[in-house]
């Protein structure tokens, strides 16, 4: 039985239809990241599930039972808001204790202290929200969501209003923390790295629909369309408009006059341009004598933490970003050669943006979209 299910949910505000037809099924205890640009409806999705708004059509079920006729206070949900939504006239302790007092727990002290300790805010429990830093507020909001041990946890971009350093730390700590709780978690974020760190699966949303719903690996290696490929990955994926050619060696694409084979590309329509996606880490500097080595000119080089990114130019005029682990030697400028790992090359239809499956053996028709 699924922990949470949305069936053909429709929601409009006035003339604007935000969700035409949204369906999603999340396993019990699963952590799902909901990722998308602002305005795609992620926050509204959480609010529909929480009961703040009602859908115009469709159903929302928890553990197989519809919750549409339940008011927000009856749904057994914990929610952490993006702007924290702490009660300004209560101490942090009372904020966190709120779900417990709602359910008649008259001595919440133990519980509250426990979870405050877990989130490292036990020393500020007596403070009012305005005396807390953003990071402390965020953790108080989180504590409040968790303390009631809800079956379903909704986290609305909780790290958004927190400074970069803390965000980075929490990105590592949060998944660990959440694993200690037996709850289904929906985590909304605009940061793809958070999505990949946190979720068992990621639902990529855009303009009110779920474009792809799969594991981080599926999203990353088999993005459903070029937009998703562009959103995930740093530096961004290289995209080129190229026309595959066919000869007796198979299908290949041409870069700097060098033919790069496309395995399994026999089914590809040649004679038509398509969008080729090459992630920077899929390109590597190679020696000139390696087969299918592509001659390029290195134009610039930027160290980026654990990797180094080079900007290279092919003789046919394409500019590519190549990334390598820091410490690997490579020419910093001038002529060089790069090689492409053909198995990790991505192809997209130039008009629709959808990914074209390359190898029948590997591809599973673009992950699961619902």
């Amino acid at each position: 039985m699924s922990g949470l299910e949305l069936r053909h949910v429709r929601k409009a505000f006035g003339a604007h239809e935000v969700f035409p037809d949204l369906s999603l099924e999340v396993e019990h205890g699963e952590h799902v990241a909901i990722f998308g640009p602002s305005g795609c409806g992620k926050t509204l999705l959480l609010r529909l599930i929480a009961g703040i708004y009602d859908p115009d059509a469709g159903d929302i079920l928890m553990d197989g039972r519809s919750i549409l006729d339940l008011a927000p206070d009856r749904r057994g949900i914990g929610m952490a808001f993006q702007n924290f939504a702490l009660y300004p006239h209560m101490s942090a302790f009372d904020n966190i204790a709120s779900p417990l007092s709602a359910h008649g727990n008259s001595a919440p002290t133990e519980h509250v202290r426990e979870i405050a300790g877990l989130l490292k805010i036990d020393h500020v429990l007596s403070h009012a929200p305005r005396a807390l830093s953003n990071g402390q507020k965020q953790r108080t909001a989180l504590a409040r969501a968790l303390v009631g041990e809800p079956k379903l946890l909704l986290l609305d971009d909780p790290l958004r209003n927190v400074d970069a350093k803390l965000r980075y730390e929490m990105r590592l700590e949060l998944p660990k923390l959440l694993r200690g709780f037996d709850a289904t978690v929906l985590y909304v974020t605009q940061d793809y790295k958070e999505a990949m760190a946190l979720g068992h699966r990621i639902a990529v949303m855009s303009r009110g629909t779920i474009r792809q719903f799969g594991t981080p690996e599926e999203i990353y290696y088999q993005p459903a369309d070029v937009e998703i490929a562009r959103l995930f990955g740093d530096p961004t994926i290289n995209l080129l408009q190229l026309q595959p050619e066919k000869n007796e060696g198979g299908v290949h694409i041409r870069l700097s006059e060098v033919a790069v084979p496309l395995p399994g590309g026999d089914t590809l329509p040649t004679g038509r341009e398509c969008t080729v996606g090459l992630r920077p880490e899929v390109l590597a500097f190679v020696d000139a004598d390696v087969p299918a080595a592509i001659p390029v000119t290195v134009e610039a080089e930027t160290p980026l933490n654990e990797k180094v990114v080079s900007l290279v130019r092919t003789s046919c005029g394409h500019e590519l970003l190549v990334s390598r682990p820091a410490g690997t030697p490579a020419p910093a400028s001038g002529p060089a050669h790069i090689g492409v790992d053909p198995g990790r090359l991505l192809l997209f239809d130039p008009s629709s943006g959808d990914r074209i499956a390359l190898q029948d053996a590997v591809s599973t028709r673009g992950g699961s979209t619902t």
Binding site: G51, I52, D73, F81, N83, A85, Y87, P88, S98, A102
Partner: protein, 285 residues
Amino acid sequence: MDHTSPLETIFRRVALGVILVFFLFPIFWIVLMSFQTNEQILRIPPRVFFSPTLSNYKALISGELITTVGSLKLTFMHNLWNSFFLSTSSVLVALVLGVPAAYAFARFKFRLGEDIAFTLLSIRFAPPLLILLPLSLLFNEIGLSDTYIGLIWVYQLICLPLIVWIVRGYFEDISPDIEHAYRIDGHSWAQTFFRIAVPLARPGIAAAGLLSFIFAWNNFVFALILGSADKQPVTVGALAFVTAAGISYGQIAAAIVLSILPTLALALYAQRYLVEGLSLGAVKG
């Protein structure tokens, strides 16, 4: 950061002084008069320094006045009590009626709500007599003429629009997410209203309540038209005082002082709320 010429400073000080004198002198003078006997009052030129007497207040409070024409029963203390009772009750009723309504108008967009809000606002601006005169005839027929309830009902005309208007703004300023969070925590709507919305709107409610009380207390025309003799508040009572025979000017002054003392004291004590209420929430804090 101020480079005003000395001339300008003098001008400002003088102007401010004149203004302060103009607005505060009458109160000061009447207070003075209330401690004077008739002879002292009628003396020309008037003296600022004199030996004060409490006889005026004693007469008012005890309700009995010995004059040259005999003893007179004064009902002023009863007027004072009426003022107090009417104002307090009206404000309490208006709060009970108005705060939930203000919440409804702030949080829910419903057609009827806009209509009611607009009606309440129009009431605030309508000539009172337009309502009061027909009401006086109506009250006679339905038997509300000589009742406190009738007056409290009518006083809602003064208190309710003010409370709804001011408190609505304060509710609107509370982030809805805070209330949503409280609901999701497991609290019912009523708990959310009483434990989150109302406490967070407290400054507005206090300001509105305070202002309503003052306006209710200072009201004249409502009680003039609809009140009967024994339900009159001080505003009408004081006026009747002036025309009664045998009253000394000192007592009139004392009556005036007793009439304005509560509102002046309230205003001084809670002036922060007053400013918020008077600017109708247009400027917060």
